[in-house]
Point group: C2
Chain length 166, copies 2
DNA sequence: GACCATAATGTTGATATCAACGGTTCAATG
DNA sequence: CATTGAACCGTTGATATCAACATTATGGTC
């Protein structure tokens, strides 16, 4: 009885350090956030002279298409919340790098396209990206690169939208 | 002459779609952001009933130590900017899950510790984490899991601080 | 044509992320 | 003990992220 109570109290009040280590060493979410933050900093640092963040670079690049994509298309491609995309477009729109236009075929949709200035920015940024990409590659053993990207793609939820209902 | 000019103009005004595909398929930053966003959503969805986000769970878990760590310790462990940690602690402090105390040994440092309520929250969240972790594991081929975590750790910049100078 | 379910997007509020700047404390040097 | 450089941290402003709610447009049904 007493020992049971004691163990119950202990269970309610403490969490063994071993469990913390288990989470710290294995949690996919934590590992991904760590790696994503550190890697974003690499690309951010490299792109800063151009006035672009890594996310802005990725977004601009995803707009370089023949057919201007819709918000939903891009949000899905980046595995990004739809409303996050709306927010991220604002600074780029303000700077005249991106344009939004109502789709005449379906007036609910907005078509996103690069402006001349946006394309120019991308072209300037490309060699910076190549250099940073190579630097980052050196952190990951060559033999792992392909598999790593495949695993990340799988975790990213594939090409399908992250959530249909919303 | 004419063709040279044409090619120059073309280079300045357009970016081949193939380059876009090269970036989209290979960029470590983009792949990591995608995977990190999608995975955070998994854990966020699972933890929402408890009122915790994935980041808050990771942060609380990193505070479950014998010796209360300093801000710098934790920021380094999470590969997170120091000032981001300050911001992230505020809601947890408001809810009484975390306490900050000036280190008497070095009054520049703050020691972070869990409150009773914080530990209780962690204990409640643990089975949710285990379940979500297992779900996520099913997305990554078993044979890759160990290697994936190792690569992510390498990308995360190891246990050293992300930036010394600032 | 009115009605309704669905689809695509916008808005608001809360948290997350980081650069730039500023304040305090420590430790070493003279 | 005064100075000085470094270490640790907070604040501010800008962007990023997402849930909840609201708006507008489309397509189909009656």
């Amino acid at each position: 009885m007493v020992s049971l109570l004691k163990s119950e109290m202990s269970n309610r009040r403490k969490l063994p350090v071993e469990v913390t280590h288990e989470v710290r060493d294995n949690c996919y979410c934590l590992h991904l956030q760590r790696a994503a933050r550190a890697t974003a900093r690499r690309y951010d640092d490299a792109l800063r002279p151009l006035g672009l963040t890594s996310g802005q670079f990725s977004l601009l690049m995803s707009l370089n298409r023949v057919e201007p994509p819709t918000m939903g298309d891009v949000a899905s491609l980046l595995a990004m919340d739809r409303t996050t995309l709306t927010a991220n477009l604002k600074p780029l729109e303000r700077r005249g790098l991106v344009e939004l236009a109502v789709d005449p075929e379906d007036r609910r949709s907005r078509r996103l396209s690069l402006t001349e200035a946006g394309r120019a920015q991308l072209i300037t940024a490309l060699p910076v990206w190549r250099r940073t990409q190579k630097e980052t590659e050196s952190v990951v053993p060559d033999s792992h690169a392909e598999r790593l990207r495949a695993d990340l793609t799988a975790l990213g939820g594939g090409p399908t939208p992250p959530k249909s209902p919303r």
